[in-house]
Amino acid sequence: MHMDDGAMNDPIISVRGLTCGYGRRTVLKDVSFDVGRGEVFVVIGGSGCGKSTLLKHMIGLYPPMAGSVRLSGADIVAAEGEARLEILKGIGVMYQMGALFGSMTVLQNVGLPLEEYTDLPAEAIEVVSRVKLSLVGLEKFGQVMPSELSGGMVKRAAIARAMALDPAILFLDEPSAGLDPVTSAELDRVVRSLAENLGITFVIVSHELPSILSVADRVILLDAQAKGIVAQGDPRQLNETSKDPRVRRFFDREARLPEPLSPAHQAEAFQPAASTAAEAHT
């Protein structure tokens, strides 16, 4: 396995032999990888290759068919009760659509984990929440309901909530999905600044090429056919040097579908000539 730096001697996440799927269908088979402390680690791949499935298994939402996921040294698959709670407190998750609680204000959303797990007085919780919101540039929107925020703001608020308990690892599911390029770039900047200033480890699921190139330290490329990792490393390096057709297909944005028609043929095929009914002769 390719190791980038010394950080990998002490990985914060290590996944070993993870096999997972739904019902009888296996989506990923025997996947193993490590994530170094403070790394921005991006899981990439075309749609349907199991990126989100991998993420949901890494945060313990679904039990895998086989394998282990160690987060900061503790196996989330095997952990139960209090031990599991301790692991969960050490991670934060931003879901694809934000998953903010619609019945609470943004500030209350961010404060919820603090309310649940700390004995801080309400006043202190409010201050902490406001600080977290300011980290993602939403300090003015604390009293707003989630339904009044734009898509990008919802995701930023969700990151603030995920950071409420100062977790060591943040998981982001498709942060740029459904965002315009400018908003997406802002979100990338938030991620980079949090990683660099606070040393948070990020695990991001994404398929947005520009975002991946600007934000990732290291990527793994999943493939639906291989049911696992087909390439890993620095995305810029992969982009420039890799000759693997599967990697090329992703970075060159090549269509997986059969050759499209040439434009000339296309124009012909879909432009009807003057009509006469078909005749059949035997």
Binding site: L61, A99, P113, H265, A269, A273, A277, A278, H281, T282
Partner: protein, 358 residues
């Protein structure tokens, strides 16, 4: 060898006319080979392509050969794509074909049962724990839910109660008048409302009004991944969402039953007043006949009913699948299961009360 020449435009309109005779001909079973001459076909649309694809499939099944002559290259490409898609489809069908439907149903059933048992256990634990450690309960949520369940449903509850009392007394008065027995209407009304109708109608209203809301709220949260978010925060959705709903139902529904009973008595009193009985006659006859065990029995009933309704509605919400239609399904399911459970439990109570002479 059958030779068919198709000329002009092969579009949906023409294909619709051609399809049946063409299929009848190739399915007759006496074909060795088929040649389609398409040199003069100028335009082929999706339906035309489907005809060619189907002819290929028939040839494969019937063991004859198909030759396409003069198919313009631009359509050759589309046809290849379509044939490849068909082949992939057939492959997928055979790959999934060895699943045993009976076994799958059974697995689903055991899964559902296990979930139900887990849910009942977890809810009971939540209620027990919140009674023992009231500090851990999210009381603001309980109050919000209590308002939604109780206070906001008061107008409709009072209206139904009043009308039911009025109608029931009115109908009984008409019948009993023939025997000069109108004076017994208050006795009947008090007994029926306190023992039977009060708990039953309140529970039905709870299922229809609040149970559906529970299922829809929690179901939408499931669809929006909010439940997943709770789980990864280490917060149990049962404790966080189901707990306050069950607690608030338990707290307000008995009070709602009392309101209902009161409204029905008002309705009954109106009828009795209108046929010339003084109010004091009505009230004294009602309260002389309704005893403490009647009231206690009605409280036991309504507490069980509200547990069942709130519990099953929340469970349906938690088990919502993906998409908007799933939320609709679980909402319907919550009301239907609630009503069924209420009726079954009411029947059991009738038997039990009779048996224990309560």
């Amino acid at each position: 060898m059958l030779v068919v020449r198709l000329s002009g435009d092969l579009r949906a309109a023409a294909v619709a006319r051609l399809w049946r005779p063409a299929m009848e001909r190739v399915r007759a079973g006496d074909l060795k080979s088929l040649r389609l001459e398409l040199d003069e076909a100028r335009y082929i649309d999706g339906a035309g392509l489907a005809l060619l694809v189907q002819l290929h499939a028939e040839a494969h099944a019937g063991g004859f050969s198909v030759e396409l002559q003069g198919l313009p290259p631009r359509y050759r490409h589309l046809l290849d794509l379509a044939l490849r898609a068909e082949a992939a489809d057939a492959e997928a069908a055979t790959a999934g074909g060895n699943a045993n439907p009976l076994r799958e149903r059974l697995e689903l059933l055991t899964h559902d049962l296990r979930e139900l048992v887990c849910f009942v256990g977890e809810s009971a634990q939540v209620v027990y724990r919140s009674l023992r450690h009231p500090k851990g309960v999210r009381w603001p949520d309980v109050v919000t839910q209590a308002c939604a369940v109780g206070v906001q449903s008061l107008p409709i509850l009072l209206l139904i109660g009043f009308l039911m009392g009025l109608i029931m007394s009115f109908q009984s008065v008409i019948t009993l008048q023939r025997f000069g027995g109108e004076i017994y209407v208050p006795n009947m009304l008090g007994l029926v409302m306190f023992r039977e109708m009060g708990p039953l109608v309140t529970a039905i209203l709870l299922a229809a009004r609040s149970g559906s809301a529970f299922a829809a709220e929690i179901g939408t949260m499931r669809v929006n991944e909010e439940l997943d978010a709770l789980t990864t925060m280490g917060i149990s959705p049962v404790r966080f969402l189901v707990g306050p709903r069950i607690l608030s139902s338990l707290a307000v529904v008995p009070v709602m039953t009392l309101f209902f009973n009161f409204a029905s008595l008002v309705g009954g009193a109106l009828v009795m007043l209108s046929i010339g009985f003084p109010l004091v006659t009505f009230t004294s006859r009602v309260f002389a006949n309704v005893t403490a065990p009647d009231l206690i029995g009605s409280f036991i009933k309504i507490i069980v009913f509200s547990l069942l309704v709130a519990g099953v509605s929340c469970l349906k919400g938690l088990r919502t699948g993906g998409g908007a239609s799933a939320v609709g399904r679980s909402t319907t399911g919550a009301v239907v299961s609630g009503l069924v459970l209420i009726t079954v439990a009411d029947g059991l109570f009738a038997v039990l009360f009779y048996y224990f002479d309560f």
